[in-house]
Assembly symmetry: C2
Homo-oligomer: 342 residues x 2
């Protein structure tokens, strides 16, 4: 077992003063003489005292912990958002408990339960793709526990959130394809109940209409965000009598899977099919051809989520704020018609 850490008591005894004197000295209470304060601080430093957070937590009923629930850990998107959250949290002296839901509603609920037991002060959450029932989140808000959503959100009138401008981004991709001579533009969406699926689809439809391209329901595919299901959606598209000449997906993972299938069929990207992704994963530049993708301000998204969280902690009464962040389309090889090499 670890040695017991020094407590106020130890310092008090060593200095021959009372515990409360030490406590006061450490926090520059005016009642304590300057010399004594200095002496106390010096010794505390020497013994490298730090207040026991459990004692403090017990006293103030705050754990200084935030529960963060993300669908996945492995993407740049989430790990970068977490980075942003942590940066802001650290400034405020908060810790972050990250629990992946692995896209499962079951896991999501279980994580919430566990984090509640650990007495996190509140939650920052990105919905699992399975989540279409929101009662567990309603319970949280009803208990007046701070809750903020990012990216995949729900209960908009009750819960603050940060999202990307999915609509405009999807519209932009669609137009970009059109400007590069695509006319049969397909979109591989995710589950309908997710806001990001829906908004991106709306943007896609708007983009088609902007370019006076008719909407062909066959070009609107769907998957459950897993590579396997994305591959199947791609195959359905490629099997159409008139297969699309451009595809974009709800995120990069989906498009990576699509790229693999397209290649398997002996088709060329971008010559036969142009591709574009969403969320600009690191690997977009590793694949060949490099993937055109919508870049999200991920770190900023995390920072803002944390800031909204602390607004909430400060005052549960304010109306929920929703922040929408601008994205940027990064154009790479996968969506630009080029002359055949050599």
């Amino acid at each position: 077992m670890a040695k017991r850490r020094v407590s106020l008591k130890d310092i008090a005894k060593e200095l021959g003063v009372s515990i409360s004197t030490v406590s006061r000295g450490l926090r520059d209470h005016p009642d304590i003489s300057n010399e004594l304060t200095a002496e106390i601080k010096a010794l505390a430093d020497l013994r490298n005292y730090s207040p026991n957070p459990m004692a403090m937590g017990l006293l103030q009923q705050r754990t200084k912990m935030i529960g963060v629930i993300v669908p996945d850990l492995v993407t740049h998107f989430f790990s970068s958002v977490i980075l942003g959250i942590e940066a802001v949290a650290k400034e405020k002296g908060y810790f972050v408990l990250v629990s992946p839901s692995y896209e499962s509603l079951e896991k999501e609920k279980e994580n919430i339960k566990n984090l509640m037991k650990a007495r996190v002060e509140g939650f920052i959450v990105c919905l699992s793709q399975e989540t279409s029932d929101y009662s567990h989140f309603e319970q949280i808000t009803e208990s007046e526990i701070p809750l903020v959503f990012f990216d995949r959100v729900c209960l908009k009138d009750k819960v603050p959130s940060v999202v990307a401008d999915s609509f405009e981004a999807a519209r932009g991709i669609t137009r970009h394809f059109y400007e590069n001579q695509a006319t049969r533009i397909a979109y591989i969406s995710g589950p309908d109940h997710l806001n990001i699926s829906d908004e991106r689809r709306q943007g896609y439809l708007q983009g088609l209409s902007d370019c006076s391209l008719g909407y062909n329901p066959e070009y609107l595919e769907q998957c459950n965000l897993s590579p396997g299901s994305a591959a199947e959606a791609t195959l359905r598209l490629l099997a159409l009598p008139k297969p699309p000449d451009a595809i974009f997906g709800i995120n990069d993972t989906v498009v990576f899977a699509a790229m693999k299938e397209i290649r398997k069929r002996g088709l060329n990207v971008p010559k036969d099919v142009m591709l574009a992704g969403f969320t600009d994963e690191f690997h977009a530049t590793v694949v060949h051809p490099m993937l055109t993708s919508v870049m999200h301000p991920t770190r900023e998204m995390g920072e803002i989520a944390a800031m909204l969280f602390f607004e909430l902690i400060g005052n549960m009464e304010t109306a929920p704020r929703s922040v929408e962040l601008k994205t940027e389309l990064v154009i790479r090889e996968s969506s630009v018609r080029v002359e055949e090499k050599k």
Copy 2:
């Protein structure tokens, strides 16, 4: 602010008994009558009571928290190890505080300090690539705080660890290359002080010797694990009078970067240069050609790290155990000579 959660006191008052009776009833103490116990449990359930972890922590001087420090969050490798750690931790009622060091010694130290302040009971760590001075870890062991390393380790005689069989794996890759007609085999290593750099290099040398290939120091390159520095190392290899016809790197990220450079130079993988990676990232199958790579039992690595941790918590006296896990070479397109397509 969140409503105060129910405490033993609340339940005791509602039932008209004392706090200790409730406490005992909840834990099936034989002194309490069966009916009363049942009654207590029923009410506790109804109000969904759960013990305040801070009160418990204060009392028992344990936080049930493990500090996990990883160089990065974004790779499958680390996120999968974390998954393994969390699974075992959850079973024991422990929480995991994950703090990325972002490969920086500075950050690593800072994380330790913060986690100590949060009173984690111990640490599970993968060294940052910058870490060649280990005094901060020596301090931890001297304070008798449980510490376990995984993958990148140090202080082997004092600290338990889980690692992969880097030596055999690197040797295996080298031989695999040779069996596929490579004779100029290069290795892009990482910082010298990392055990994984060193062991893989030794395995590489052994592999060369196994195949009766002479060791050419020019084919032993080095990088700092960043894609940029890996790219530079690759360029140095390609610029040699007799450039290598096979390259493997200390991890997949390095090899992805190498692949990009090779392609930029108009060379073909595997025809001109065969490639193989280490740690089998998800994206190994996304790139084209698909990357041959050494698969690590990552989740198991996390589980074992956690198990070693709990052995340590149980009894600090046992000699440090070191576990080495077997890896497996997954052969894909990037390292197999094929007839030109068509």
